[in-house]
Symmetry: C2
């Protein structure tokens, strides 16, 4: 079985991506990050998703990004937006964490190389969150080009590929795809300020997008709200 | 004063780069990594270099890369080479750490963004270590292109620049430049297996290159050997 590193946050998007990687025949090596995020219960969710989803291995890398501040997701002094605009017109949201996806993808790249894998799956989405610069297709293409020059496997001809299978899907498309693949969204946590038990606030940008997705897809929303 | 993030390992190369950044008028924000390297005394050296070199701030990011193995620098089961070939002809040495420079540069990018800086200085060198894929100019150009797409500052038009002022210098050129700038190489540690006091082995690839550099430059070698 081909190996793939799958970035797994514990949220809805990455749970879907993990199921897609499995369907494509990959052994999933799930990678999560403990970076000082407010919504730490997503790490518990990631562990459940990895287990239920049949991951070959699940690793959590601890990396403290709180010291730098600059984001509502890592700085308690900045409020999580509850009625933010979304999409390109809204600009870059305060939930943007400087260079986060670049750091995470770099660590995924390192693990892939030690595993002898050239495939990395990630849940970036350009529809709902196009305000994040590091969720855009042109960014991901540039990362992939860099990765092929950065590594021993790339230099030796390995076609390192950053797979972002849901990048152009709406949230409704994503939950429909996940439902088809049997993903249990009840164990995932998307909320930016979920409590210690993983219960969602229901009002932050991430909760609203998720809720709207289930509604638009005509599916029951299994999210556990506080 | 313009701010720059300077990647500071505690070795000869990065100490020189830090002095170059200062001469170019930058306030130096020095960044080091505690990644489970054998030669941990280089971190003490980095702190000394930052202090003596007048850095505005020095941060050490802890990030455990030992779990993945795959390199003589992080895996005690792999010997550090003491008579390795160097240069492109030698291929990629066992001291290569998978995706290390990509991870480090990504973290430097994140700190730069929170500081409002667009300049990153790093001590990659393509002459002595061209066997490392992530020390090559084409890799660094690809990283810079990616970084401009990855970040808020890049998207807003900031010309994020990865400065590698010593990339084409020989070790002799580097120590000559450092001597001109008043760098105290006696406080730097380059050895791959320096002891707890920072004393160098004198025989590993890194020691040999350093020793040859001072000799070729006609300068006294202030390295403290075990």
């Amino acid at each position: 079985m081909k190996k793939a590193v799958v970035m797994l946050s514990g949220g809805l998007d990455s749970a879907t991506v993990s199921a897609i990687a499995r369907e494509q025949g990959y052994a999933v090596y799930a990678l999560s990050f403990d970076y000082g995020q407010r919504h730490r219960s997503e790490l518990d969710a990631a562990a459940r998703v990895a287990e239920v989803g049949g991951a070959a291995e699940h690793r959590v890398i601890k990396l403290d990004l709180t010291g730098w501040g600059g984001s509502a997701l890592t700085d308690n002094k900045i409020d999580v937006p509850i009625a933010g605009l979304t999409g390109a017109a809204a600009g870059i949201p305060v939930t943007y964490v400087p260079a986060r996806n670049t750091i995470f993808l770099s660590l995924a790249l390192a693990w892939a190389e030690t595993l002898g894998a050239v495939d990395i799956f990630a849940g970036m989405n350009a529809v709902d969150y196009s305000g994040y610069p590091d969720c855009r297709p042109e960014y991901l293409a540039a990362f992939q080009a860099m990765a092929r020059l950065a590594t021993k496997s790339g230099v030796e001809g390995g076609d390192i590929t950053i797979h972002t299978p849901i990048i152009n899907m709406s949230k409704a498309d994503i939950v429909r795809e996940g439902a088809r693949l049997g993903v249990d969204y009840g164990i995932t946590v998307s909320c930016y300020q979920a409590d210690a038990h993983g219960l969602a606030c229901g009002v932050c940008d991430s909760c609203r997008l998720r809720k709207d997705g289930f509604r638009a897809a005509g599916l029951v929303d299994p999210t556990r709200y506080a």
